[in-house]
Symmetry: C2
Subunit: 349 residues, 2 copies
C-alpha cells in the first residue's frame, strides 16, 4: 500500500468484503430497509434481562452469522476489530468473549464500524492477516440510558435529536476474493467546531465529514460524480444539509449522489425519529444490509462510505465541554466484475 | 510482514521507537521510578477544574512533549492511535482534538498503550505511514469516580485492589531509525475465567497474560530466557504470582526475568497501594519512562511487553457480569546496536 496525498491510503491488493450480516431491532424492522436485514427482532430484550445483555447477544449472533455465511472457519479468521457505544465497549467484549479470535478493541463512536474495516483492510493488504472480522453494535435503550435520560422518565426529545439504531453489523474481509473491494481509506482528523448540544449530533459531526470528504477528493483527484453513492453515517437530516452546503462552499456539488444512513434507515413520515437514525449500528446495518446487497446485485458499483462519530460522554456534557471529535473515515468500496459489462466495470485500482 | 504460528506477526522492517514521553501525578512522583519520568506533577488537577480536564491536559502535554523530543514535525506524523479508561475515551479525544493528525480511537483498557503500538507498527511496516503517534492516559481520581466509588466517600479499598496510575505515556514510532525496534507482535484473545470482583483485576487478567505469553513462546520458538525482561502491565502483586504459577504448569519458568509494571511503579512498604498500580498509564509511563531509558542506555536489549486490560464497566459489574476480557498484546522490543559489543548484539530479526 502507499500513501496518496495528505491522508489517503491506497491498497495494492484491495481486500474483498467477503460477507456481511446484520440484525436489527423492532423499530428498524418497521423501517424502509427492513427487507435487506438478515434478522429483524420483535422486541428489544431478545430474551435477555437487560438492554446491555441484549446488545451483547445481538453483536454475538451477528458475528456468528457473518462467519457462517462466509464459509470461512472461525479458526481461519486472524483478527477481530470491534467496538461499540457502551462505556468501555462492553457490548463487544462481552458479546465476543467466546469467539476465540485475537481481538483489537476500537472506539470511534458511530464511526466504529468503518474504523474497524479501515484497520482490518490495512492488516490484510499488509500480509498480517488473510481474513479479519469487523463488527459493531448499538441499542436505543442502552444508549439513551447511558448518554441522556432514563427511558422511564418519558422525556421529550428535541427536534434535532437522532434515534440510536438497535442492531449490529458485521463484515468478514479477506485477502482472496472477487469483491466488493476496499480500494482506499482516508482516516479523518478530530474536528471540533464548538457544538455543545448532545441532542444535535448532526451539527457536531457535519464539519468532520466535510473535512474528510474534501481531503479524499483532493488526495485522489476524484470528483463526487466518480461515485455512484456517497454515504455518510449518521448525520441525520440536519447534518446532511450542513454537509451539502459546506461542500458547495469548496466547489463540490454532492447533491446528486449523496445520502446519509440516518436518513435512510427510518421513514420520516411514519416513524417519529426527528432528525433520523444514529449509533454505531446505523452505518453498520445500512451498509451490511442495504448497500452490500446493492453492490452484489451490481445496482451500484462505486461507493464512498463516510462514517463520523461524536466523541462525547455524559460527564463531558455536564462539564460544559463541546462535542469535539468526529472521527470520519472514508472507505471506498468498489465492485469487481469478473465479466465486465459497460455499466459494471472492473474498478480495482 | 508475515504471520508466525497462530497469532504472531513478524515485521520485515521493524519500526523504531523514535521517542517517548511520560508525565505522572503526585503519587507516582514519590515512587521508585520518579527519576525516569519527564515530568512529575505535584497536584492532581494541574490547574484544571475537574479530574477529567486534568487527564486531558496530561495526555495533551505528553503527546506534545513526545513530538517535540522526536524532532519530527507534527505534520510529518501520519496517524495517531490513542485511547483511555474514561467512558467513550474522552480524555484522548478532548486532549488530542487540536493535534490535527488523522486519528484512530483504540480501546483495550489497560492494554491500550501496547495495542496502539501494535496497530502503529503494522501501519509503518506496511508502508501506510512513516511516523505514527501512540498514546494513552489514566487518572486515579477520574477512574475511581467512574468505576468504583466517589473519592469523597472515603471507602476502604480491599487488599486485592490496585491503584490507578495518574499519568500519560506517548511514543512516536518511525519507519526510519536506529531502534529500539518493535520486531514482533502477538495480539491476544479475550479470556474470561469468571472473575467477578472489580477489586481484583490482577486475578481477572492473569489468565489472559498467560495465554498470550505461551502463544508467543510457541509461535516464535523462543524461551523466556531469550528476553532480558518480560514485563506485564498491570497484574499487580496478586496477578504476577498467578502468571508465574500458570507458566510453570506449562513448563515455562519466567521467575528469573519477569516483572510487572504495577509492581514496579509504587513502593510497597511506603506507598499504600495494596496490590500495586494499574490503569492505562501504568504500562504507558513505566515503558515510556523506565524501560525505554534502559533500552537507550543498553542496560537491557530484549524486552517482551505484555499488556492486559480488564474489560468491564460499572454497569456490567452491577449486573453480575464477570470481567471477561483481558486484551493482552505482546510487543517484542529489541535494541539495535550499530557497533555491537558482546552484551549488546544486533537483535534485529
Amino acid at each position: 500500500m502507499n500513501k496518496l496525498g495528505k491522508q489517503t491510503i491506497k491498497f495494492d491488493s484491495p481486500p474483498t468484503i467477503t460477507e456481511v450480516a446484520s440484525i436489527v431491532g423492532p423499530k428498524e424492522s418497521q423501517g424502509p430497509l427492513a427487507k435487506y436485514f438478515d434478522k429483524c427482532l420483535d422486541d428489544e430484550f431478545w430474551g435477555e434481562k437487560t438492554w446491555e445483555k441484549a446488545e451483547s447477544k445481538i453483536i454475538k449472533e451477528t458475528v456468528n452469522m457473518a462467519i457462517a455465511k462466509s464459509n470461512i472457519a472461525s479458526s481461519d479468521i486472524d483478527f477481530c476489530f470491534a467496538g461499540d457505544l457502551l462505556n468501555q465497549c462492553i457490548s463487544s467484549s462481552f458479546g465476543l468473549r467466546e469467539i476465540n479470535i485475537p481481538f483489537f478493541g476500537v472506539f470511534g463512536a458511530c464511526s466504529t464500524f468503518v474504523e474497524s474495516m479501515c484497520l482490518g483492510s490495512v492488516f490484510i493488504d499488509a500480509g498480517a492477516a488473510k481474513n479479519v472480522l469487523c463488527s459493531t453494535s448499538s441499542h436505543f435503550c442502552s444508549a439513551e440510558k447511558q448518554f441522556r435520560f432514563p427511558l422511564e422518565l418519558g422525556n421529550q426529545r428535541p427536534p434535532t435529536s437522532q434515534w440510536t439504531v438497535t442492531g449490529s453489523g458485521a463484515a468478514v474481509l479477506s485477502k482472496d476474493g472477487n469483491g466488493p473491494f476496499i480500494t482506499h481509506i482516508t482516516p479523518g482528523k478530530i474536528v471540533d467546531m464548538g457544538i455543545k448540544d448532545a441532542n444535535n449530533m448532526g451539527a457536531a459531526m457535519a464539519p468532520a465529514a466535510f473535512d474528510t470528504l474534501i481531503t479524499h477528493f483532493e488526495d485522489t483527484g476524484r470528483k463526487p460524480s466518480y461515485y455512484d453513492v456517497i454515504l455518510t453515517g449518521d448525520l441525520g437530516y440536519i447534518g446532511k444539509d450542513i454537509v451539502k452546503d459546506l461542500c458547495k462552499t469548496k466547489g463540490y456539488n454532492i447533491s446528486g449522489n449523496y445520502n446519509d444512513c440516518g436518513v435512510l434507515i427510518f421513514d420520516k413520515s411514519t416513524q417519529d425519529t426527528h432528525s433520523g437514525g444514529s449509533g454505531c449500528a446505523c452505518i453498520g446495518t445500512v451498509f451490511s444490509g442495504y448497500i452490500y446487497k446493492q453492490l452484489q446485485e451490481k445496482k451500484i458499483n462505486k461507493v464512498l462510505l463516510v462514517a463520523t462519530g461524536a466523541l462525547t460522554n455524559a460527564t463531558s456534557s455536564q462539564q460544559g465541554e463541546s462535542i469535539p471529535r468526529n472521527s470520519p473515515r472514508h472507505s471506498n468500496r468498489k465492485l469487481k466484475e469478473d465479466n465486465p459489462v459497460p455499466n459494471c466495470p472492473i474498478l480495482l485500482n
